[in-house]
């Protein structure tokens, strides 16, 4: 906003003050988690609370990993999130392209259905889907946690459609006149153009699957199948007193998402700006 260059010193100071106070509210729980993860048992319940431990107990991290089958849970989480992300990247752009760029009769009603489903609460379909997977014998495996993504997810289809709509129409007209097949127009012209949008939905899906709690809670029963989020819950009830180990684990399950986010941040924000959420 160019106008802000005309802000008075008072307005500037006010903005900083509000941002700093709000910033403290947003940042301190996170810092407290990191600080607690490095505390010794003795300093845990100190009053007044201490932000920087007198000795950093780095051992909490390997200890936390030993407390729960950390690497087992980690690989389960990575596998489910990875498969769901790949599935979404295969199906959603294909469908969105059909809805946005191919003139056919079904496109409009199908888009309408997509919007309705986007607003439909997950719980309405949750029980019959569970029963179906139960009958097939997939309850207790990770298949129900990623397979449905192969058949499209309404929110991502919506985002990608908005993105495709924004591309100039001349692109495919020219290609069609040149005799390129639809498949070729899609894969060689359109798909490369929507990289930022694809990155955005990949990030959304990966973070969504990684953080998902309800899905694994319903479908996974055997501890060897648990994801990190479910594993945390077991940790919480069994070893409730070991706050510093719990916090160390939390740092370790939060960090990968943060690193991932900061790596793709630029493309991600561009993706949001281009897709029609705004």
């Amino acid at each position: 906003m160019e106008t802000s260059s005309r802000l008075t010193i008072f307005q500037r100071g006010f903005a900083h003050a509000v941002l700093i106070i709000m910033g403290a509210f947003f940042l301190s729980p996170f810092l407290w988690m990191v600080s607690t993860s490095l505390k010794s048992n003795a300093e845990l319940f100190l009053w007044p609370p201490k932000w920087i431990p007198s000795t950093m107990v780095w051992r909490n991290y390997p200890d936390a990993i030993d407390y729960i089958p950390f690497f087992k849970y980690l690989s389960n989480s990575l596998l489910i999130s990875g498969l769901a992300t790949i599935a979404v990247l295969i199906s959603c752009p294909l469908v969105a392209y059909s809805l946005a760029r191919i003139p056919w009769k079904g496109a409009k009603p199908l888009f309408g259905a997509t919007l309705i489903v986007m607003m439909m609460p997950y719980q309405v379909t949750m029980i019959p889907i569970f029963i179906t997977f139960k009958n097939i014998g997939w309850v207790g495996t990770n298949i129900p946690l990623w397979l449905p993504a192969l058949f499209g997810a309404p929110f991502y289809i919506f985002l990608l459609r908005q993105f495709f709509m924004g591309l100039p129409k001349e692109l495919e007209d020219a290609a069609r006149i040149d005799g390129a097949s639809e498949l070729r127009i899609y894969s060689q012209i359109m798909l490369p153009l929507c990289k930022p949008a694809l990155l955005t939905i990949a990030l959304f899906q990966f973070m969504g699957s990684w953080k998902d709690y309800q899905g694994p809670l319903i479908y996974l029963s055997d501890e060897s199948q648990y994801t990190l989020m479910l594993g945390m819950q077991a940790f919480k009830s069994q070893h409730g007193a070991e706050w510093q180990l719990m916090m160390a684990t939390l740092v370790m399950i939060t960090l990968p998402i943060m690193i991932l986010y900061f790596l793709v941040q630029k493309a991600f924000i561009r993706g949001i700006t281009f897709t029609g959420i705004k």
Binding site: M1, E2, T3, S4, S5, L7, R12, A15, H16, L19, F25, F26, P29, F30, F45, P48, P49, L94, V95, S98, I102, P103, W104, G106, L110, T114, M119, M120, P121, Q123, V124, T125, I127, P128, I129, I131, T132, P148, F151, I157, E182, Y186, M207, W210, K211, Y213, Q214, M229, M232, W243, L250, I253, T254, I257, Y261, I269, I272, T273, I277, K278
Partner: protein, 316 residues
């Protein structure tokens, strides 16, 4: 034999016809590709949405559990629900949470986005700061805040103590458990800020320049330009936020180990649905709850949509 004139006519007609045939052939081909490309989602709609929707409607009239096929009982599940105190409690908890959290999150999100859109020093750092919590998994949020809000040794009551306020028991008390939950939820709304920011950056600079010439001050510019142009984004976030809030599950569930304590003050609608379906295996009963939730969502969405004309301004 026809005359020369008619032959030309015939020829043109034939030409038009072949052209039309070619065009329809092309259209058919396109339609086929459209259908082919959309087929995963058409299957997905049928398998994971239409069929489950119908099945859930059917189950809601039965005593279905995983263990036995269940029998048709008509509206019994619904009439039992209306006499179920926990059901009503869960509805009032959920609406309380939705009607307080969603407006607060919008005010907080819009205010933060406007501040973050100012050209001031440290803009990038501030932006990162507000986004970080939304990257934290809900289970981590719960554990961190459980610790922060602890009445005896939590950081929040320590700070309140410093400014002379004796802090409430937070999650442990019936009156403060839901406000605690709203506080935690507000902490994780950074993603909405990013979306508002994107909306703000879309406002044409000319509008501000014109307003400046007319002598509008910063406050007036915000009231008459920024806010109206942001209403489509607010509208989107309001609907998605409301639907999300009505389905609030992970925070209260993990916070109370699925108990909804104290005194069911944290028993949220979807939590009770989950408990009925997967802990008590009353799948028919839970399906009836799912349908009532669906109706509530549709009704509230329709109400928001109906108000749209009055306050949402589209640029085009």
């Amino acid at each position: 034999m026809a005359t020369v004139g008619t032959t030309t006519k015939d020829n043109t007609a034939a030409l038009v016809q072949t052209k039309r045939k070619k065009a329809t052939k092309f259209e058919t081909k396109l339609a086929l590709f459209g259908l082919l490309f959309a087929s995963p989602w058409i299957l997905g709609l049928l398998m994971f949405n239409v069929y489950p929707l119908l099945a859930s409607a059917y189950y809601s009239f039965t005593t279905y559990s995983i263990l036995e096929p269940g029998k048709f009982v008509g509206f019994e599940n619904y009439t039992t629900l209306f006499k179920d105190d926990v059901f009503w409690k869960s509805i009032s908890n959920t609406l309380y949470y939705t009607f307080i959290f969603v407006p607060l999150s919008i005010v907080q999100g819009v205010a933060l986005a406007m501040l973050l859109n100012l050209k001031i020093k440290g803009q990038g750092i501030y932006r990162t700061l507000f986004f970080i919590p939304s990257l934290v998994p809900e289970i981590a949020t719960v554990i961190i805040w459980l610790w922060l809000l602890n009445p005896q040794f939590g950081l929040v009551n320590f700070w309140l103590d410093k400014i002379g306020i004796s802090g409430p028991p937070w999650i442990g008390s019936e009156a403060w458990s839901k406000p605690s939950l709203i506080l935690m939820s507000l902490w994780g709304t950074g993603q909405a800020v990013v979306i508002y920011l994107a909306g703000l950056q879309d406002v044409p600079q000319d509008y501000y320049d014109a307003a400046q010439v007319d002598g509008a001050n910063a406050w007036q510019r915000m009231r008459t330009i920024t806010l109206p142009l942001l209403t489509p984004v607010i509208f989107f976030n309001m609907i998605m936020g409301m639907i999300g809030a009505l389905q609030n599950f992970v925070l209260p569930y993990t916070l109370t180990n699925g108990q909804g304590t104290p005194a069911n003050s944290m028993m949220f609608y979807v939590m009770y649905l989950y408990t009925n379906g997967f802990a008590y295996l009353k799948m028919g009963y839970a399906s009836a709850m799912a349908w009532i939730l669906f109706i509530i969502v549709v009704a509230l969405t329709a109400i928001i949509f109906a108000t749209q004309k009055r306050w949402v301004h589209y640029q085009r």
